[in-house]
């Protein structure tokens, strides 16, 4: 079982397939785990391991996961992004593509802010975002569904710390848009983006579409794309063609040579 370790942080990850690296960020909010991919609309390992090196990790301190680390109260989003970038460094990967479900949307934008020269293309699927009519949704969900269990597992962490952590993650100035970056950042982001919108409370359609409108190289797939099983393969096909189109030429050539 592979782990990436850096100081007090220990991240469990899995890999499958070969080819250009594709970092997959599972959904599930702060309980995002590799195992959770089994309940997603599609499993990126199954779908893309045939032509990409697919990598996914348990989110630090996710319930049911095997990744652990300090609760970095002052920099919640960046702490997780440290883990994503650190894992890529650990694997010797410089450039990669990223596909993120749910909370993977905000993580993708933070990755693009922190490492825009390394993320070749990105796919936010059913991305999370701020919903003005339900302003406390993400905070409340995690205060109930993540914090208490974490405190039981980690006596060094208190609910007061969880409260501050989640407030810094979802409250104040962050309570807007995709939580992690500004509209100006998205407006100037040149990275190719493919968005698969959703519209459940935690995944606001308006925010997903706003990113598509703002990002100059963004595309959007069909919507709804997972209300019936027959549509999911169409969305997966769109993702696959998008990833292929933006895979660096050298990687595509080596894949073609290997296939011959």
């Amino acid at each position: 079982m592979p782990f990436y370790q850096r100081g007090q942080v220990r991240i469990y990850y899995e890999e499958g397939g070969s080819g250009f690296p594709l970092l997959v960020i599972p959904g599930g909010g702060l309980n995002s785990t590799v195992a959770g991919l089994a309940t997603h609309p599609f499993n990126p390992f199954d779908e893309f391991k045939g032509e990409f090196r697919v990598i996914a990790a348990d989110l630090r301190n996710a319930k049911g996961g095997q990744s652990f680390g300090p609760l970095e109260i002052d920099r919640p989003w960046d702490a997780y992004t440290d883990d994503h970038i650190g894992l890529m460094d650990h694997l010797g990967i410089r450039e990669f593509m990223v596909l993120g479900f749910c909370i993977g949307g905000p993580f993708i934008w933070n990755l693009l802010k922190r490492a825009s020269d390394r993320v070749v293309a990105a796919v936010p699927a059913q991305p999370s975002g701020y919903r003005p009519e339900m302003p406390g949704l993400s905070y409340n969900n995690n205060m109930k569904g993540w914090g208490p269990e974490l405190c039981v597992r980690r006596p060094d962490i208190t609910m007061a710390m969880v409260d501050t952590f989640l407030t810094n993650m979802y409250g104040g100035a962050r309570a807007d848009f995709v939580y992690t970056v500004t509209r100006d950042f998205v407006r100037n982001c040149q990275t190719p983006i493919l968005v698969l919108p959703d519209d459940v409370p935690g995944h606001p359609y308006a925010v997903a579409m706003e990113t598509v409108h703002l990002a100059p190289n963004a595309q959007v797939s069909l919507y709804p794309w997972k209300d019936t099983p027959d549509k999911i393969p169409l969305a997966v096909r769109h993702i696959r063609t998008f990833l292929r189109a933006h895979r660096p030429v050298a990687a595509a050539r080596s894949m073609a040579a290997a296939a011959q």
Binding site: M209, V212, Q219, S221, P224, A245
Partner: protein, 281 residues
């Protein structure tokens, strides 16, 4: 104003830009013509001229256009395809992209059937298709929007010829995108599924489907079926989003959505997908 002529067929066309050829067909049913571009949801000649050699044409016998020819009473879709492929030959173009609005979706299906080795990629945009709950909608549309002006211009064409023309267009293959039908002994006698069969056989090229939710003939059945049956098809944004989004959050109608969805911005997103064709050249 350039023309391509072959026998008694005379096709007016226009070109703009340079690069890999992109044949684009404006909407307008049987009145699909170059002058429709300024009112199209996206003026493809303008949007893509900096990336592609854009070519468009007045369809044969479109009112308001300058292309003329016989009214085919049999294999009418093939006659349009003959004009389109003939124009490509005339211009010395072997491989090209195709993008068709409205009736152009039917043209796309026929072109893919007739010349799969030449159509490198295709975009179906707000495509016409068979609507089972209103099977004569396109016959009515042709009667209402094309017939009178055409008969005024071409009184020598009999109503019998016109009716046979409409039958060939809309009733011989009353299913799916209307333009494809059984072309081999394997599919003969399975007319209702032959077009789907044709689409399923198309596997070598990427395609896109654009959707636009309207009452007039862009039926859900043909949209969904096109996407499902084409093995390399993908789909882009649909205006139906507005309705779905409105149900979830009515306040969006008044602000952001009024601005975004109904503005040119949504068109801008759709434009980006065909620009993805650049990677296919």
């Amino acid at each position: 104003m350039p023309f391509y002529q072959k026998g008694d067929i005379r096709i007016r066309y226009e070109e703009v830009g340079s690069g890999f050829p992109l044949l684009v067909t404006p909407g307008g049913g049987l009145n699909s013509r170059v002058s429709n571009w300024p009112t199209a949801v996206i003026n493809a000649m303008e949007e893509f001229k900096n990336d592609f050699r854009c070519i468009t044409m007045d369809q044969r016998n479109a009112n308001g256009g300058e292309s003329t020819g016989p009214v085919p009473v049999d294999k009418a879709w093939d006659a349009f395809a003959d004009d389109q492929l003939g124009l490509m030959d005339h211009l010395g173009i072997r491989e090209f992209f195709y993008m068709g609005y409205c009736i152009g979706g039917c043209f796309a299906g026929k072109l893919l059937q007739r010349a799969p080795d030449r159509v490198v990629a295709a975009v179906f945009c707000q495509t016409v298709g068979h609507r089972p709950e209103d099977p004569d909608v396109m016959v009515r549309h042709s009667h209402d929007n094309w017939l009178a002006d055409f008969r005024a211009r071409r009184p020598e064409v009999s109503m019998d010829t016109v009716e046979r023309y409409f039958r060939s267009l809309w009733r011989v293959q009353p299913d799916f995108s209307s333009a494809c039908r059984a072309s081999s002994s394997k599919t003969a006698g399975r007319r209702s599924s032959s077009c789907r069969t044709t689409h399923r056989r198309i596997r070598c090229r990427p395609r896109s489907t654009w959707r636009r939710w309207r009452r007039t003939p862009r039926p859900p059945s043909s949209r969904g079926a096109s996407r499902r049956n084409l093995r390399h098809a993908r789909s882009t944004v649909c205006a139906r989003f507005l309705n779905r989004a409105s149900r979830c959050a009515p306040q969006r109608n008044s602000g952001f959505w009024q601005h975004v969805v109904r503005s040119r911005a949504q068109r801008g997103i759709a434009v980006r997908c065909p620009l993805d064709l650049r990677s296919r050249r």
